[in-house]
């Protein structure tokens, strides 16, 4: 069983401000049924001051407690003050949450943020780009940075990421995003290929992705040597005498190798 603080217990046993507000000035949502957590928050705002807040939560004890205490925290505050509240503030106010339950406070924070965006007529926050603190897996409150970190520490598959930080293990809505991160960041990991694997992989890309294309112009390519990240190749057939050869090497061959093998590869032509 989780170690809940007395404050958490108090709030799930007798949650404050349960319900909805008719004609609310702002409504915010977070979570989804599939994940096992969903929170709706309703705000009444007068002259920039939150005069009333109510919530409805589908979730565990700490989710209800987070929602309940959040409504208490924001009633009487200005909208600007409320905006500064972080998920950590919510957890602190509850005298802490078990680490596995921090996503409950994240959800409270998201619902509030959503409500305020809704109040100001702004777009949803979800599409903020390249924010390492952005939560990717809402079920378990796992941030982009944590997932990237797991990949950098050797996680190569979705299952391995799940084992490290649970990301993707709940409703699975975030799985495509995790896979994107896997594609993006685990390719860098490939530098850990041993020299033989590195050469074989280069050769394979040259054979499958490059040779065919050059062959269309009756040209060809041979791998001569690999020295660190420098890849020495020899162009054959019509390519060997083509004045655009350097262009071909840099724009096509090097690009292919950088994309499929290693981002730092340099292609050098051997005459």
């Amino acid at each position: 069983m989780w170690e809940y603080s007395n404050k958490v217990k108090e709030h799930y046993k007798n949650p404050k401000n349960v319900g909805s507000i008719e004609n609310a000035d702002a409504i915010g949502e977070a979570g989804a049924l599939a994940c096992g957590d969903k929170l709706k928050i309703y705000l009444k705002i007068d002259n920039g001051i939150i005069t009333d807040a109510k919530f409805q939560t589908f979730g565990c004890g700490s989710a209800v407690a987070s929602s309940s205490i959040l409504t208490e925290m924001i009633i009487g505050k200005t909208v600007d003050e409320a905006r500064k509240i972080t998920n950590k503030d919510i957890a602190d106010e509850l005298d802490g949450l078990p680490p596995e339950k921090m996503h409950c406070s994240v959800m409270g924070h998201e619902a509030l943020e959503d409500a305020l965006k809704n109040y100001f007529g702004e777009e949803k926050v979800e599409n903020k780009k390249e924010n390492p603190q952005k939560i990717i897996c809402n079920c378990f409150g796992v941030s982009e940075a944590e997932i990237i970190n797991a990949i950098k520490n050797g996680a190569k598959t979705l299952d391995e990421i799940k084992e490290i930080n649970y990301a993707g293990g709940g409703c699975a809505r975030c799985v495509p995003n995790i896979k994107m991160l896997l594609d993006k960041y685990s390719s860098k990991k490939e530098t850990a290929l041993n020299p033989v694997q590195f050469i074989l992989k280069i050769n394979k890309v040259l054979e499958t992705n490059v040779a065919g294309e050059l062959g269309k112009d009756s040209g060809g390519i041979e791998l001569v040597n690999v020295d660190g990240k420098d890849v020495y190749v020899k162009l054959t057939g019509t390519c060997s005498s083509c004045k655009n050869a350097t262009l071909t090497l840099k724009n096509f061959v090097e690009k292919q190798l950088r994309e499929h093998v290693d981002e730092q590869i340099n292609v050098i032509e051997v005459k």
Partner: protein
């Protein structure tokens, strides 16, 4: 009302007779069964007798087929790893999607190590697709592993028939049955089956935690998991845990003697609880849909309410149960068993398992039936799915 304990599939109260029977082996009869002097004789005799009792409990042909272990997980690990180790040329395993995590995670691990694992599905009732299982058998199949009863839903799988059919197709394939949730709840008669290996855990039938056993059919080759001394005929090293072995044997005897009570009175109470909740709580749906179930278990989902929250409120009323909700498990994932049988998300996260024992009273069941609608009514008010709930409660 004192504590109402309805989580007997998690663990059970140690029976007072069991504690009584164990005590002398901590104090007067503390000898090492392997020693030569008189003091050890009592301990040695106790282990021998206990082995006979467990053999009788499981319907084994010969007490030699019983090996004492420390728990159900050890029994499973010993059986699975032991079989695969002596059949290294075979790399195929068949198991179900609904096994206990101790077995499931071991197979996931083996899958990573190069084994091919066929995962057998269950239908919406939780019943096993036996046809799919039999089709999966190949000459390369080293092991078929099916639990006898599911810990979350209580569903019984036809392991006798499966073992029979497996052996017809490939006599070399070994059959391991995780019997942890079946032992003490339904009759078991291994000598009449083709099951090779069968694991049990004492604390699920009123023995203490920390003791289990593995049945190994005579003639089944198995390499040991714990290597060391000659104990358990070299199949499981380590000085015998005499008091706990005595405790488990005592518990097994009590369980066998009260099997009739389990199959009648406990079943009646379970059915009463199930019907009581389903008829008094409108958003309750039955997850344990199979008619072939152990008599003590039911699993009920409460739509649009989350399981941990229900458990916390039950706890405040002195009722202990457990949940397939993501939030209560250490892994934070919703029940793989309920997901495998396609329980929808609307009730998956609000699934509660009630598991009774022979100590459960009618008064306790009445109390639970009375409390449940009150708790759910309170929690329904908090739910953001008011529109959906209105439909259900109208």
């Amino acid at each position: 009302m004192n504590l109402v304990y309805l989580d007997n599939n998690a663990t059970t109260m140690v029976a007072p007779e069991v504690v009584e029977a164990m005590l002398p082996y901590f104090t007067n009869e503390y000898g090492n069964p392997s020693s030569i002097y008189d003091l050890a004789h009592g301990a040695n005799e106790a282990v021998k007798k206990s082995r006979e009792v467990i053999a009788d409990f499981l319907g084994a042909k010969d007490p030699k087929e019983i090996i004492f272990t420390s728990c159900g997980s050890e029994s499973a690990n010993m059986a699975i790893k032991g079989v695969l180790d002596v059949n290294r040329n075979k790399k195929h395993i068949i198991t179900t999607r609904v096994e206990h995590p101790c077995v499931l995670n071991l197979y996931k691990d083996l899958e990573k190590k190069g084994y091919q694992v066929s995962w057998i599905d269950v239908d919406f009732k939780g019943e096993l697709n036996v046809g799919q299982l039999l089709k999966a058998i190949t000459p390369d199949t080293a092991l078929v592993s099916v639990m006898m009863a599911n810990n979350e839903t209580g569903t019984i799988y036809p392991v006798d028939k499966i073992a029979e059919a497996v052996k017809m197709q490939n006599p070399e394939t070994k059959v391991f049955v995780d019997g942890v949730q079946a032992a003490g709840k339904i009759p078991i008669n291994l000598k009449d089956t083709k099951i090779d290996l069968f694991g049990i855990s004492g604390h699920k039938f009123h023995a203490p935690k920390g003791i289990g056993a593995l049945y190994v059919k005579s003639g089944t080759m198995l390499s040991p998991l714990v290597v060391g001394g000659h104990q358990e005929k070299g199949k499981r090293a380590g000085t015998e845990n005499v008091p706990y072995i005595v405790g488990m044997a005592t518990a097994a005897k009590l369980a066998k003697d009260s099997l009739d009570d389990e199959l009648t009175r406990v079943k009646v109470l379970r059915d009463k609880l199930e019907k009581g909740i389903l008829s008094n709580v409108k958003n309750a749906v039955l997850n344990s849909k199979s008619s072939n179930r152990v008599p003590n278990t039911t699993n009920i989902g409460f739509q649009y309410v989350e399981g941990e929250l229900i458990l916390l409120h039950l706890n405040d009323e002195g009722i202990c149960a457990s949940s397939g909700s993501a939030c209560t498990s250490g892994s934070l994932e919703p029940s793989h068993v309920l997901r495998a049988q396609g329980v929808p998300f609307t009730s998956l996260h609000g699934s509660i398992r009630f598991s009774l024992s022979r100590y459960t009273t009618e008064e306790e069941i009445n109390y639970t039936i009375e409390k449940m609608p009150v708790i759910i009514e309170k929690l329904v008010k908090i739910s953001p799915f008011q529109k959906e709930l209105k439909e259900i409660f109208k």
